[in-house]
């Protein structure tokens, strides 16, 4: 029994040695012989396994690619969402560069940092301070016009009071200089949003909706000619000694991103053609609106006259007993509703009836107008 076990173990060891020898022989094959041997096995009995492995790897690659494609698609969608804001920011920066080139000197560019609170709707932090020449009460402007003024200054940062602040005031005038007043924030509401009020306009001065209002230069803080807003409508106030107007501001507080802070020395110098392009654009828009209104009014008047003429013609025809071909039947005409149907007459009779009716109308008109001794025409129904 023990001998059988020993011989069995010996056989196992011999087979082990043989198999290891075969394996080492395979390992010791030269490189140019390994590939043919492996290739033969891959092309024969291992072909199904090789195919399975290739398909599994292809599946894995497609899974990874799908994840990658999804990530790329998401990235593209995310970028597409930001394109509009980037375009807007690009436009604003271009405008700011244009403003800087027109100002030429005496300004400090700054980024506006908006807060997130009730108080911060009326103020904003600017990324420029006294180190670069910013002082308290320096005007803060954008390419569109008035934004606010610096209220507090730190070496590297400053705080600005936006025009929405209740304490903000700016002396203003109409673009043609015919009316002067004070602009302040209008109490915001859910329907109007942020608007401005122009107060203190004399009663003799009336401003049309759409008129541009600019800073007047009075008061010493704001230079003359910076756009503030456009007239929306006149509003009634408790004072009653002057006119007040509602303004649509040229600058929306939420859209302010990059601004210019005008230094004190620059604010006292003239601003030739700095904001003229904005003013010209607004004036052009106003002219277009006005001309559009005039054209519409003329067209409406012409249409009303044509309608009246057509009705008169139809009325005369129906009174004469005829009906305009294709027109309304006589019983539906306004003049014939309360009248009895006119008897049909021949053409000679119709002509005589028209002459009699015209004579009656003329006699009524002549009788209804009396000439008094002073030579003024008066209507008898109204008395003297």
């Amino acid at each position: 029994m023990a001998r059988a076990v020993r011989s069995s173990n010996r056989a196992d060891l011999i087979i082990l040695g043989a198999t290891v020898l075969v394996a080492l022989t395979a390992r010791g094959l030269p490189q140019n012989m390994r590939e043919p041997v492996a290739s033969v096995m891959r092309r024969t009995f291992l072909a199904p396994l090789v195919m399975l492995q290739e398909r599994s790897e292809a599946s894995r690659r497609s899974l990874l690619l799908d994840n990658e494609r999804t990530a790329i698609r998401d990235s593209v969608a995310l970028r597409a969402m930001t394109v509009t804001s980037l375009e807007n920011e690009n436009d604003r920066l271009r405008q700011l560069i244009g403003l800087g080139s027109r100002l030429k000197w005496g300004f400090v560019p700054a980024e506006a940092i908006h807060g997130r609170g009730v108080r911060d709707v009326t103020t904003m932090t600017l990324t420029a301070g006294s180190n670069v020449g910013v002082r308290r009460l320096n005007p803060v402007v954008s390419p569109e016009g008035v934004v606010g003024m610096v209220s507090n200054v730190d070496p590297t940062m400053s705080e600005a009071m936006i025009w929405t602040h209740p304490d903000f005031r700016v002396s203003a005038m109409s673009a043609d200089g015919s009316a002067f007043g004070i602009v302040q924030a209008h109490a915001a509401s859910a329907t109007t949003g942020y608007l401005m009020e122009l107060r203190g306009i004399p009663f003799r001065s009336q401003l049309k909706p759409g008129s541009l209002i600019v800073s007047s230069g009075l008061g010493g803080v704001w230079p003359r000619g910076i756009p503030i807003g456009t007239i929306l409508s006149e509003i009634s106030t408790a004072e009653g000694w002057a006119r007040s107007y509602l303004l649509r501001p040229v600058v929306s507080p939420a859209d302010v991103g990059a601004v210019m802070i005008l230094r004190s020395d620059r604010a006292t110098k003239p601003f030739d053609n700095v904001w003229s392009s904005v003013a010209e654009a607004n004036a052009a828009a106003e002219r277009i609106v006005v001309s559009g209104d005039s054209a519409a009014k003329s067209a409406a008047l012409a249409e009303a006259a044509a309608r009246r003429a057509a009705l008169d013609t139809m009325s005369r025809d129906s009174t004469a007993g005829g009906q305009v071909p294709g027109g309304l039947p006589p019983e539906l005409m306004p003049d014939t509703v309360s009248r009895a149907p006119a008897p049909r007459l021949d053409s000679a009779g119709a002509a005589a009836a028209r002459r009699r009716a015209a004579a009656r109308r003329d006699s009524i008109r002549r009788d209804s107008i009396q000439r008094d001794t002073s030579g003024v025409l008066r209507s008898p129904t109204r008395g003297i």
């Binding site: 394996a23 080492l24 096995m41 399975l52």
Partner: protein
């Protein structure tokens, strides 16, 4: 072993071989589980050491044929692991999951040690990193997969107690 147990063991062996060439490349882990080693170990505890060595040689040659530059390395490793597993089968006959997991872990790690030593592709710090980091991780993954398979395929995997 009767005919039924031979058929079950063969089926299990083929399933593991198929998993090696389907699930493993699909997962694509850095430390992959080795279903061929599992198949070898589960076959080795059912046969004599000499037969286990032959099965290991065949499995090794098959696996090496897909990586011709390492032809023979896998065969040597599989042969030795198969022989040792069959020789030690008495130790791992106990129906203990932890012991079986250790058996799978040890089998895979010994295989990797022999394989990378014979292959001689890696050297120095790379070899140490492979043998002390990635190989144990791969062995652990193989052990976990082996235990899961034992639980799922218990009726097929009942070893012959002849």
């Amino acid at each position: 072993m009767n005919l039924g147990s031979i058929a079950r063991a063969t089926a299990t062996f083929l399933i593991l071989v198929l998993l090696h060439y389907t699930l493993r490349p699909l997962l694509g882990w850095r430390a992959p589980m080795d279903f061929l080693v599992l198949a070898l170990l589960l076959a080795a505890i059912r046969v004599r050491p000499a037969a286990a060595a032959i099965i290991g040689l065949i499995l090794g040659i098959v696996s090496d044929s897909l990586t011709p530059e390492a032809l023979g390395a896998g065969a040597v490793a599989m042969t030795v692991v198969g022989y040792l597993a069959s020789w030690l089968k008495a130790v791992f006959f106990a129906d203990n999951l932890a012991l079986n997991a250790f058996f799978f872990f040890l089998g895979k790690w010994v295989f990797d040690v022999i394989y990378f030593s014979v292959e001689q592709r890696l050297g120095g710090i790379e070899l140490i990193q492979q043998l002390l980091l990635w190989s144990p991780l791969s062995a652990a993954a193989t052990a976990i997969a082996g235990i899961l398979l034992l639980l799922i395929m218990r009726p097929l995997l009942e070893p012959s107690r002849v």
